[in-house]
Amino acid sequence: MYFKLQTLHMCRNVITAVEARNFPPLETFPISQRVTFSFFVGRLALYKEEYDKADERLTYTLRNIPPQYVKSKRMVLESLIPIRLLRGQVPSETLLRRYNLDPAFAELTRAYKVGNVGKFAQILDEKSIAFMRTGLFLVFEKVKSLVVRTLFKRVHEIRGKGARADLGDFLVAMKAAGCECDMDDLECTLANLVYENRVKCYIAHDKRMAVLSKADPFPAVRKAPQ
């Protein structure tokens, strides 16, 4: 109800009451109510960018919805997919089809997998209003930087995984992926990725080169940023 009213801060009172010690244990309530409650706790955690908690709650919700409630499962998946993308977990096309998810999710997933930065940004832009309303805007924004990381990783692989990377290559790749950016933007993006431990390298700005770490310059995406 509070979600419908868009007064999310009021939800906290309800949740606090339910999670308080003197409230009857959750197991005494029918599973349908627990699942619904769990869903909203998960969605709220998503708004507050508590991704681990959101993942846990939404996964629980998904597992406990009987298979025939496709629409309910879809609702949960819409929130769960971007959270899992932050962890590098990609939904299969089968899954997306089975639950009839909005085609945007499939397109975003495809763009994510190959590092198509321009396409990813374009879809986000088209869907920005819808995502704002469903609270997915922030999390997909976070996923964007992972798409860039994937693109850079591919460039690195194409160039034979050398220790030195020409920033010009990355720039060409960004432009090829439909992203309008110049060298300043590129250095900024790469430096931010380094800062967030998504890429391990040093940038030699004057030489327009990146010196990549010998061991695992593109660490696997496992932990969601908090």
Partner: protein, 245 residues
């Protein structure tokens, strides 16, 4: 302090409109006084105007127009006087008054919509300022946006504001400074508060990704969009050892 307002002292909307016009036409551009003095005078007069509107509970087109002008003035001052001493210009107070005006404005816009009247022509401009002023807080921005109808959310000023939000969120300092350079003046002024944090972030991030953790002056200037070494000095001093001397 609650003064005894005599009914004959309270000015009707038409007079308030004239007063505001006078402030704009004759006072604000006064070159004979320092702008900080002008600002103090105008600020107090504007506060009095708001008071008169409020006590008459007037919320018509005139009120909207005048409040919009006040918001613009506060935004302008926030930027133009940012280097003044606290005694001369208090940014917090200015921000407070800006927020008050903006809140009243938003209520008036909502009233207009509810009454089914034609929406105010400048509504999106000011809703955009509202978002830009809160760009540092994701919660606030989402909260502000959630209640806006689709036609407003897809308007150009709001899209620009959301793009600024996106840039700030992703710490895209390069994109942010480019955005600032091209943004309409008042929108850029509203983002003034983000400049220093972005510059700090640029320095820290660039240094971290550089060999030896230091940046050259050239890179520092470029990354922070500072024009001269002098502009960047406060940041360099705050982040000791980040500059490759």
């Amino acid at each position: 302090a609650a003064e005894d307002e005599r009914p004959e002292d309270v000015r009707p909307p038409a007079v308030l409109r004239m007063t505001m016009n006078y402030l704009i036409d004759s006072i604000m551009d006064d070159q004979t006084e320092p702008f900080s003095e002008v600002q103090l005078f105008v600020r107090d007069r504007m506060r009095a105007i708001r008071k008169d509107f409020t006590c008459q509970n007037v919320r018509d087109e005139t009120a909207v127009e005048v409040h919009e002008q006040m918001v613009r003035f506060h935004i302008l001052c926030g930027h133009r006087l940012c280097e003044e001493e606290r005694a001369v210009f208090d940014p917090k107070q200015n921000q407070e008054q800006l927020n008050n005006c903006l809140t009243t404005l938003k209520e008036m816009y909502a009233d207009f919509r509810k009454a089914g009247k034609a929406s105010c022509p400048n509504e999106v401009e000011f809703l955009a300022y509202d978002i830009l002023a809160r760009v540092h807080s994701a919660n606030d921005v989402l909260h502000a946006c959630m209640r806006l109808p689709d036609d407003i959310l897809s308007s150009a000023p709001i899209r620009r504001a959301l793009r600024a939000f996106s840039l700030v969120r992703s710490e895209d300092f390069s994109g942010f400074f480019k955005y600032l350079r091209e943004a309409p003046y008042l929108e850029a002024c509203t983002l003034h508060a983000q400049v220093a944090p972005m510059r700090a972030r640029a320095l820290v991030v660039l240094a971290r990704a550089s060999p030896k953790g230091k940046v050259s002056l050239e890179l520092a200037l470029r990354g922070t969009a500072c024009d001269t070494a002098q502009d960047i000095m406060p940041f360099i001093e705050a982040y000791n050892g980040v500059l490759d001397a």
